[in-house]
Symmetry: C2
Subunit: 144 residues, 2 copies
DNA sequence: TTTATACAATTGACCAATCAATCGTTGATA
DNA sequence: TATCAACGATTGATTGGTCAATTGTATAAA
């Protein structure tokens, strides 16, 4: 298991993640981005798009398009901030809230299967390792 | 840290992965898929596209298009298997091999930064956990 | 008060991934 | 030998993401 770059952690992670997302998408029938977006909205009352964008790390353009679509589907409402017309404020509709609740239940089931055989401690450890790596990444220079 | 589905491991993983890939892409200047493709080719002499596709879990169409582009860039050559005209065999050119070697070096540097502060044991543990989750995923039913 | 700067959101152009349908080849079967 | 099913590869249509440029609004400076 030398670090020659072959079958490295990054490779494993990539293979794993791709399968994970693909499976999750097929199970829930929703795209990962849209799910993340809705989930983020679920936790707040109302939020503007740029804040959403920063939290999700998705491009601004993608945010705009997703939200327009979600608005068309009756999942969210959008209105311009009366105190500052540059901001548009987004919130889930009641219908949207119901939807995301259902998805979240599916997610919990999915997670249970994913983490089968993992003790509480192991789960915490894993989460912690990811956080540490994330910290490391933040210190890597690069136009991000 | 209850398992209500909020800020779950899947969320953390997703946030982490997106940042990881974005940073890696910016550092190396190559797309993750293309890199994986080239890396896979690096390990074999010659290979057909379907085998590649299965190993990488990328869509067949994407494979075809990537390889056509790589062929245009002089990174790979493609020829039809004389024993069975349905297969096209792909291999890296010498130039392609040089390229991938350079990228792999960048990857090793990147990995070193990513894993800063991780002991050998921790790295193994992490890799092992991913493998276990991957196993779990394979048992989840779903059209994949 | 006018002008310049900063910022949120949007749009257009482009690239990459997926799905579904199709083409061409092969091998088995009637 | 003719037909059909299986399979690899390709293509078209659609979707989602990024970058760059633009629009509209607010605020600070001249």
């Amino acid at each position: 298991m030398k670090d020659s770059g072959d079958n490295s952690i990054i490779d494993k992670l990539q293979n794993f993640y791709i399968q994970l997302i693909s499976k999750f998408g097929h199970c829930t029938g929703i795209s990962p981005s849209r799910f993340r977006l809705m989930q983020q909205l679920f936790h707040v009352d109302e939020i503007n798009q740029t804040t959403l964008q920063k939290e999700l790390q998705i491009d601004r353009a993608a945010i705009t398009r997703h939200l327009k679509q979600l608005e068309g589907d009756g999942i969210v409402t959008r209105r311009i901030n009366p105190d500052d017309n540059r901001f548009t404020l987004v919130r889930l509709t009641d219908h949207g809230r119901q939807e995301i609740v259902a998805y979240r239940e599916e997610k919990i089931l999915f997670m249970a299967q994913l983490l089968q055989g993992f003790s509480e401690e192991e789960q915490k450890l894993f989460a912690n390792m990811i956080e540490r790596m994330q910290e490391n990444i933040n210190h890597i220079k690069g136009e991000n």
